[in-house]
Protein backbone atom coordinates (compact mmCIF):
# COMPACT_ATOMS: atom_id res chain seq x y z
CA UNK A 1 0.00 0.00 0.00
CA UNK A 2 1.41 3.46 -0.86
CA UNK A 3 1.56 6.19 1.84
CA UNK A 4 -1.27 7.98 0.00
CA UNK A 5 -3.45 4.89 0.18
CA UNK A 6 -2.65 4.43 3.87
CA UNK A 7 -3.59 8.09 4.52
CA UNK A 8 -6.86 7.64 2.61
CA UNK A 9 -7.71 4.47 4.51
CA UNK A 10 -6.99 6.06 7.91
CA UNK A 11 -9.06 9.11 7.02
CA UNK A 12 -11.90 6.89 5.74
CA UNK A 13 -12.04 5.13 9.14
CA UNK A 14 -11.96 8.51 10.91
CA UNK A 15 -14.76 9.81 8.69
CA UNK A 16 -16.95 6.78 9.50
CA UNK A 17 -16.40 7.32 13.22
CA UNK A 18 -17.21 11.03 13.03
CA UNK A 19 -20.19 10.48 10.73
CA UNK A 20 -21.62 7.95 13.23
CA UNK A 21 -21.22 10.49 16.06
CA UNK A 22 -22.90 13.21 13.96
CA UNK A 23 -25.74 10.82 13.06
CA UNK A 24 -26.35 10.19 16.78
CA UNK A 25 -26.67 13.95 17.48
CA UNK A 26 -30.23 14.42 16.26
CA UNK A 27 -31.78 16.77 18.83
CA UNK A 28 -32.68 20.25 17.55
CA UNK A 29 -33.46 22.90 20.12
CA UNK A 30 -32.31 26.15 21.65
CA UNK A 31 -29.08 25.70 23.60
CA UNK A 32 -27.69 27.43 26.67
CA UNK A 33 -24.00 28.31 26.26
CA UNK A 34 -21.85 29.53 29.19
CA UNK A 35 -18.39 31.12 28.72
CA UNK A 36 -16.50 31.42 31.98
CA UNK A 37 -12.94 31.41 33.40
CA UNK A 38 -10.33 34.16 33.79
CA UNK A 39 -9.01 34.18 30.20
CA UNK A 40 -9.76 36.39 27.23
CA UNK A 41 -12.53 35.45 24.81
CA UNK A 42 -15.68 35.05 26.91
CA UNK A 43 -17.47 38.14 25.61
CA UNK A 44 -15.83 38.21 22.18
CA UNK A 45 -16.98 34.62 21.59
CA UNK A 46 -20.51 35.69 22.58
CA UNK A 47 -20.33 38.51 20.04
CA UNK A 48 -19.04 36.08 17.39
CA UNK A 49 -22.14 33.91 17.95
CA UNK A 50 -24.25 37.09 17.77
CA UNK A 51 -22.69 37.75 14.34
CA UNK A 52 -23.52 34.19 13.23
CA UNK A 53 -27.11 34.58 14.46
CA UNK A 54 -27.55 37.92 12.66
CA UNK A 55 -26.11 36.25 9.55
CA UNK A 56 -28.99 33.75 9.69
CA UNK A 57 -31.51 36.59 9.96
CA UNK A 58 -32.32 35.78 13.61
CA UNK A 59 -33.87 38.38 15.87
CA UNK A 60 -31.30 38.96 18.63
CA UNK A 61 -31.18 40.60 22.03
CA UNK A 62 -28.11 41.72 23.98
CA UNK A 63 -27.95 42.90 27.59
CA UNK A 64 -24.59 44.02 28.93
CA UNK A 65 -24.61 43.82 32.73
CA UNK A 66 -21.31 45.65 33.36
CA UNK A 67 -20.95 48.96 31.58
CA UNK A 68 -17.19 49.18 32.22
CA UNK A 69 -16.56 45.95 30.33
CA UNK A 70 -18.15 47.41 27.27
CA UNK A 71 -16.27 47.70 23.98
CA UNK A 72 -16.91 50.80 21.91
CA UNK A 73 -15.93 48.75 18.84
CA UNK A 74 -18.73 46.28 19.45
CA UNK A 75 -21.26 49.00 20.07
CA UNK A 76 -20.33 50.93 16.90
CA UNK A 77 -20.45 47.74 14.89
CA UNK A 78 -23.63 46.09 16.13
CA UNK A 79 -25.64 49.33 16.31
CA UNK A 80 -25.81 49.11 12.51
CA UNK A 81 -28.31 46.24 12.82
CA UNK A 82 -31.16 48.18 14.34
CA UNK A 83 -34.04 46.17 13.00
CA UNK A 84 -32.76 42.69 13.96
CA UNK A 85 -31.05 43.56 17.23
CA UNK A 86 -32.08 45.03 20.58
CA UNK A 87 -28.93 46.21 22.28
CA UNK A 88 -29.08 47.31 25.92
CA UNK A 89 -26.08 48.57 27.86
CA UNK A 90 -27.17 48.41 31.47
CA UNK A 91 -25.16 48.22 34.65
CA UNK A 92 -23.04 50.88 36.22
CA UNK A 93 -19.48 49.88 35.49
CA UNK A 94 -17.17 47.82 37.65
CA UNK A 95 -17.89 47.92 41.38
CA UNK A 96 -14.51 49.46 42.16
CA UNK A 97 -15.41 52.34 39.83
CA UNK A 98 -18.88 53.07 41.19
CA UNK A 99 -18.01 52.30 44.86
CA UNK A 100 -21.74 52.43 45.54
CA UNK A 101 -23.28 49.03 46.21
CA UNK A 102 -26.91 50.21 46.29
CA UNK A 103 -26.53 51.80 42.84
CA UNK A 104 -24.83 48.66 41.47
CA UNK A 105 -27.68 46.47 42.73
CA UNK A 106 -30.36 48.76 41.28
CA UNK A 107 -28.56 48.76 37.90
CA UNK A 108 -28.21 44.95 37.90
CA UNK A 109 -31.90 44.55 38.74
CA UNK A 110 -32.92 46.90 35.92
CA UNK A 111 -30.71 44.94 33.49
CA UNK A 112 -32.21 41.64 34.66
CA UNK A 113 -35.73 42.98 34.08
CA UNK A 114 -34.86 43.67 30.40
CA UNK A 115 -33.21 40.24 30.10
CA UNK A 116 -36.16 38.42 31.71
CA UNK A 117 -38.54 40.02 29.19
CA UNK A 118 -36.37 38.70 26.33
CA UNK A 119 -36.29 35.19 27.85
CA UNK A 120 -40.11 35.25 27.97
CA UNK A 121 -40.49 36.41 24.34
CA UNK A 122 -40.39 33.78 21.58
CA UNK A 123 -39.70 36.46 18.95
CA UNK A 124 -36.07 36.49 20.18
CA UNK A 125 -34.10 33.65 18.55
CA UNK A 126 -30.81 34.49 20.31
CA UNK A 127 -30.13 36.31 23.59
CA UNK A 128 -26.64 37.32 24.81
CA UNK A 129 -26.39 38.15 28.55
CA UNK A 130 -22.90 39.60 28.73
CA UNK A 131 -21.19 39.52 32.16
CA UNK A 132 -24.34 38.20 33.86
CA UNK A 133 -22.12 35.82 35.89
CA UNK A 134 -20.49 38.80 37.64
CA UNK A 135 -23.88 40.01 38.88
CA UNK A 136 -24.74 36.46 40.02
CA UNK A 137 -21.45 36.00 41.90
CA UNK A 138 -22.03 39.28 43.72
CA UNK A 139 -25.61 38.15 44.45
CA UNK A 140 -27.00 41.34 42.92
CA UNK A 141 -29.44 39.12 40.99
CA UNK A 142 -31.22 36.07 42.39
CA UNK A 143 -29.85 32.85 40.86
CA UNK A 144 -33.16 31.00 41.34
CA UNK A 145 -34.99 33.66 39.32
CA UNK A 146 -32.43 33.31 36.50
CA UNK A 147 -32.62 29.48 36.49
CA UNK A 148 -36.43 29.59 36.40
CA UNK A 149 -36.45 32.09 33.51
CA UNK A 150 -33.94 29.96 31.57
CA UNK A 151 -35.89 26.74 32.15
CA UNK A 152 -39.20 28.24 31.01
CA UNK A 153 -37.85 30.14 27.98
CA UNK A 154 -39.10 29.35 24.42
CA UNK A 155 -37.67 25.93 23.42
CA UNK A 156 -36.00 27.19 20.22
CA UNK A 157 -34.29 30.18 21.85
CA UNK A 158 -30.47 30.18 22.15
CA UNK A 159 -28.94 31.92 25.18
CA UNK A 160 -25.27 32.78 25.74
CA UNK A 161 -24.14 33.84 29.24
CA UNK A 162 -20.62 35.16 29.87
CA UNK A 163 -18.48 36.21 32.82
CA UNK A 164 -16.00 34.70 35.24
CA UNK A 165 -17.16 32.57 38.15
CA UNK A 166 -20.24 30.91 36.57
CA UNK A 167 -22.25 29.39 39.48
CA UNK A 168 -22.23 25.56 39.63
CA UNK A 169 -26.02 25.37 39.33
CA UNK A 170 -25.89 27.38 36.09
CA UNK A 171 -23.15 25.09 34.72
CA UNK A 172 -25.35 22.09 35.57
CA UNK A 173 -28.30 23.26 33.45
CA UNK A 174 -26.18 24.59 30.55
CA UNK A 175 -25.66 22.59 27.34
CA UNK A 176 -22.20 23.88 26.40
CA UNK A 177 -19.75 25.31 28.93
CA UNK A 178 -16.23 26.53 28.15
CA UNK A 179 -13.63 27.67 30.62
CA UNK A 180 -11.39 30.31 29.02
CA UNK A 181 -8.04 29.69 30.72
CA UNK A 182 -5.27 32.37 30.66
CA UNK A 183 -2.03 30.99 29.24
CA UNK A 184 -0.64 34.54 29.04
CA UNK A 185 -1.99 38.06 28.55
CA UNK A 186 -0.44 41.10 26.84
CA UNK A 187 -1.46 43.26 29.82
CA UNK A 188 0.99 41.31 32.02
CA UNK A 189 3.78 42.48 29.67
CA UNK A 190 2.77 46.13 29.99
CA UNK A 191 0.69 46.37 26.81
CA UNK A 192 -2.41 48.60 27.04
CA UNK A 193 -5.86 47.34 26.09
CA UNK A 194 -5.96 47.71 22.30
CA UNK A 195 -8.79 48.90 20.07
CA UNK A 196 -10.13 46.01 17.99
CA UNK A 197 -8.86 43.46 20.51
CA UNK A 198 -10.15 44.48 23.95
CA UNK A 199 -11.91 47.76 23.04
Amino acid sequence: MTPEERHRERMQRKKELIDRKIARATIERGVLVVNTGNGKGKSSSGFGMLARSLGHGFRCGVVQFIKGSFSTGEEAFFRRFGEDLDYHVMGEGFTWETQDKARDIAAAEAAWKVAADMLADASYDFVLLDELNIALVKQYIDLDAVLTALASRPPEQHVVITGRGAPDRLVEVADTVTEMRVVKHAFQAGIKAQRGIEL
Copy 2:
Protein backbone atom coordinates in the same frame (compact mmCIF):
# COMPACT_ATOMS: atom_id res chain seq x y z
CA MET B 1 -18.30 52.55 59.98
CA THR B 2 -21.51 51.48 58.18
CA PRO B 3 -21.46 48.50 55.79
CA GLU B 4 -21.83 51.00 52.89
CA GLU B 5 -18.75 52.91 54.05
CA ARG B 6 -16.79 49.67 54.41
CA HIS B 7 -17.82 48.66 50.87
CA ARG B 8 -16.76 52.05 49.53
CA GLU B 9 -13.40 51.90 51.31
CA ARG B 10 -12.70 48.35 50.06
CA MET B 11 -13.63 49.33 46.51
CA GLN B 12 -11.51 52.50 46.75
CA ARG B 13 -8.44 50.38 47.64
CA LYS B 14 -9.24 47.96 44.79
CA LYS B 15 -9.61 50.89 42.37
CA GLU B 16 -6.19 52.27 43.37
CA LEU B 17 -4.59 48.87 42.82
CA ILE B 18 -6.22 48.41 39.41
CA ASP B 19 -5.52 52.00 38.35
CA ARG B 20 -1.82 51.48 39.19
CA LYS B 21 -1.75 48.31 37.08
CA ILE B 22 -3.45 50.11 34.18
CA ALA B 23 -0.99 53.03 34.50
CA ARG B 24 1.92 50.58 34.18
CA ALA B 25 0.51 49.13 30.92
CA THR B 26 1.65 51.87 28.57
CA ILE B 27 2.84 50.02 25.47
CA GLU B 28 0.75 50.54 22.32
CA ARG B 29 1.34 48.17 19.42
CA GLY B 30 -0.20 45.43 17.36
CA VAL B 31 -0.73 42.28 19.40
CA LEU B 32 -0.67 38.61 18.47
CA VAL B 33 -3.59 36.69 20.03
CA VAL B 34 -3.78 32.87 19.97
CA ASN B 35 -6.99 30.94 20.83
CA THR B 36 -6.34 27.24 21.32
CA GLY B 37 -7.62 24.22 23.30
CA ASN B 38 -10.43 21.73 22.60
CA GLY B 39 -13.35 23.86 23.81
CA LYS B 40 -15.88 25.99 21.97
CA GLY B 41 -15.15 29.68 21.36
CA LYS B 42 -11.80 29.82 19.55
CA SER B 43 -13.17 30.94 16.18
CA SER B 44 -16.22 32.76 17.53
CA SER B 45 -13.95 34.87 19.77
CA GLY B 46 -11.83 35.68 16.71
CA PHE B 47 -14.97 36.79 14.88
CA GLY B 48 -16.01 38.89 17.89
CA MET B 49 -12.66 40.72 17.70
CA LEU B 50 -13.21 41.12 13.95
CA ALA B 51 -16.54 42.81 14.76
CA ARG B 52 -14.79 45.15 17.23
CA SER B 53 -12.14 45.99 14.63
CA LEU B 54 -14.73 46.70 11.93
CA GLY B 55 -16.54 48.87 14.50
CA HIS B 56 -13.39 51.02 14.75
CA GLY B 57 -13.24 51.37 10.96
CA PHE B 58 -10.15 49.14 10.67
CA ARG B 59 -9.29 47.42 7.41
CA CYS B 60 -9.50 43.69 8.15
CA GLY B 61 -8.45 40.46 6.50
CA VAL B 62 -9.72 36.94 7.22
CA VAL B 63 -8.31 33.65 5.93
CA GLN B 64 -10.11 30.45 6.88
CA PHE B 65 -7.74 27.51 6.57
CA ILE B 66 -10.31 24.72 7.00
CA LYS B 67 -13.37 24.99 4.82
CA GLY B 68 -15.36 22.40 6.79
CA SER B 69 -15.12 24.48 9.95
CA PHE B 70 -16.77 27.37 8.21
CA SER B 71 -19.99 28.88 9.51
CA THR B 72 -22.52 29.98 6.93
CA GLY B 73 -23.82 32.50 9.49
CA GLU B 74 -20.46 34.23 9.72
CA GLU B 75 -20.05 34.31 5.97
CA ALA B 76 -23.52 35.78 5.38
CA PHE B 77 -22.94 38.34 8.09
CA PHE B 78 -19.42 39.55 7.35
CA ARG B 79 -19.87 39.55 3.56
CA ARG B 80 -21.89 42.74 4.10
CA PHE B 81 -18.68 44.65 4.86
CA GLY B 82 -17.12 44.43 1.42
CA GLU B 83 -15.08 47.61 1.49
CA ASP B 84 -13.42 47.12 4.89
CA LEU B 85 -12.98 43.37 4.81
CA ASP B 86 -11.17 40.83 2.63
CA TYR B 87 -12.67 37.46 3.36
CA HIS B 88 -11.01 34.33 1.96
CA VAL B 89 -12.32 30.83 2.51
CA MET B 90 -9.46 28.60 1.54
CA GLY B 91 -8.63 25.04 2.48
CA GLU B 92 -10.40 21.93 1.44
CA GLY B 93 -12.42 20.88 4.46
CA PHE B 94 -11.43 18.47 7.19
CA THR B 95 -8.83 15.87 6.22
CA TRP B 96 -11.21 12.99 6.91
CA GLU B 97 -13.61 14.53 4.38
CA THR B 98 -11.13 15.10 1.57
CA GLN B 99 -9.04 11.95 2.28
CA ASP B 100 -6.47 13.36 -0.13
CA LYS B 101 -3.32 14.61 1.57
CA ALA B 102 -1.74 16.17 -1.53
CA ARG B 103 -4.89 18.25 -2.15
CA ASP B 104 -5.01 19.31 1.53
CA ILE B 105 -1.38 20.46 1.42
CA ALA B 106 -1.89 22.41 -1.82
CA ALA B 107 -4.96 24.12 -0.34
CA ALA B 108 -3.12 25.01 2.89
CA GLU B 109 -0.21 26.44 0.92
CA ALA B 110 -2.53 28.56 -1.21
CA ALA B 111 -4.25 29.86 1.96
CA TRP B 112 -0.89 30.66 3.54
CA LYS B 113 0.14 32.65 0.45
CA VAL B 114 -2.92 34.91 0.86
CA ALA B 115 -2.22 35.23 4.60
CA ALA B 116 1.47 36.04 4.09
CA ASP B 117 0.50 38.87 1.70
CA MET B 118 -1.77 40.35 4.40
CA LEU B 119 0.98 40.10 7.05
CA ALA B 120 3.30 42.03 4.71
CA ASP B 121 0.75 44.78 4.00
CA ALA B 122 0.46 47.68 6.48
CA SER B 123 -2.95 48.64 5.08
CA TYR B 124 -4.41 45.71 7.08
CA ASP B 125 -5.03 46.74 10.72
CA PHE B 126 -6.40 43.35 11.80
CA VAL B 127 -5.84 39.85 10.36
CA LEU B 128 -7.72 36.73 11.48
CA LEU B 129 -6.10 33.40 10.52
CA ASP B 130 -8.86 30.97 11.41
CA GLU B 131 -7.80 27.35 12.09
CA LEU B 132 -4.20 28.05 11.04
CA ASN B 133 -3.04 25.92 14.01
CA ILE B 134 -4.57 22.81 12.41
CA ALA B 135 -2.47 23.31 9.27
CA LEU B 136 0.64 23.87 11.45
CA VAL B 137 0.03 20.74 13.55
CA LYS B 138 -0.30 18.66 10.38
CA GLN B 139 2.87 20.32 9.06
CA TYR B 140 1.07 21.38 5.89
CA ILE B 141 2.58 24.85 6.42
CA ASP B 142 6.12 25.53 7.61
CA LEU B 143 6.13 26.93 11.16
CA ASP B 144 9.38 28.85 10.59
CA ALA B 145 7.86 30.71 7.64
CA VAL B 146 4.84 31.66 9.79
CA LEU B 147 7.00 32.86 12.72
CA THR B 148 9.17 34.94 10.37
CA ALA B 149 6.13 36.55 8.72
CA LEU B 150 4.61 37.34 12.16
CA ALA B 151 7.86 38.85 13.48
CA SER B 152 8.33 41.11 10.46
CA ARG B 153 4.72 42.26 10.11
CA PRO B 154 3.77 45.97 10.43
CA PRO B 155 4.16 46.96 14.12
CA GLU B 156 0.58 48.26 14.49
CA GLN B 157 -1.07 45.20 12.95
CA HIS B 158 -3.17 42.92 15.19
CA VAL B 159 -3.24 39.20 14.36
CA VAL B 160 -5.54 36.53 15.79
CA ILE B 161 -4.72 32.84 15.18
CA THR B 162 -7.15 30.08 16.15
CA GLY B 163 -7.24 26.29 16.25
CA ARG B 164 -6.46 23.47 18.65
CA GLY B 165 -2.90 22.38 19.27
CA ALA B 166 -1.10 25.75 18.94
CA PRO B 167 2.64 24.93 18.59
CA ASP B 168 4.78 25.88 21.64
CA ARG B 169 6.96 28.21 19.59
CA LEU B 170 3.88 30.15 18.44
CA VAL B 171 2.67 30.42 22.06
CA GLU B 172 6.11 31.77 23.04
CA VAL B 173 5.97 34.71 20.60
CA ALA B 174 2.27 35.50 21.16
CA ASP B 175 1.13 38.35 23.45
CA THR B 176 -2.19 36.87 24.60
CA VAL B 177 -2.92 33.14 24.62
CA THR B 178 -6.14 31.54 25.83
CA GLU B 179 -6.85 27.84 26.17
CA MET B 180 -10.55 27.16 25.61
CA ARG B 181 -11.23 24.17 27.89
CA VAL B 182 -14.34 21.99 27.41
CA VAL B 183 -16.38 21.75 30.60
CA LYS B 184 -19.24 20.17 28.64
CA HIS B 185 -20.61 20.30 25.10
CA ALA B 186 -24.18 19.97 23.81
CA PHE B 187 -22.97 17.54 21.11
CA GLN B 188 -22.07 15.04 23.86
CA ALA B 189 -25.75 15.05 24.86
CA GLY B 190 -26.94 14.31 21.33
CA ILE B 191 -27.72 17.88 20.29
CA LYS B 192 -26.94 18.74 16.65
CA ALA B 193 -24.76 21.72 15.70
CA GLN B 194 -27.15 24.67 15.83
CA ARG B 195 -27.43 27.64 13.46
CA GLY B 196 -26.31 30.81 15.21
CA ILE B 197 -24.20 28.85 17.70
CA GLU B 198 -21.93 26.53 15.69
CA LEU B 199 -23.19 27.26 12.13
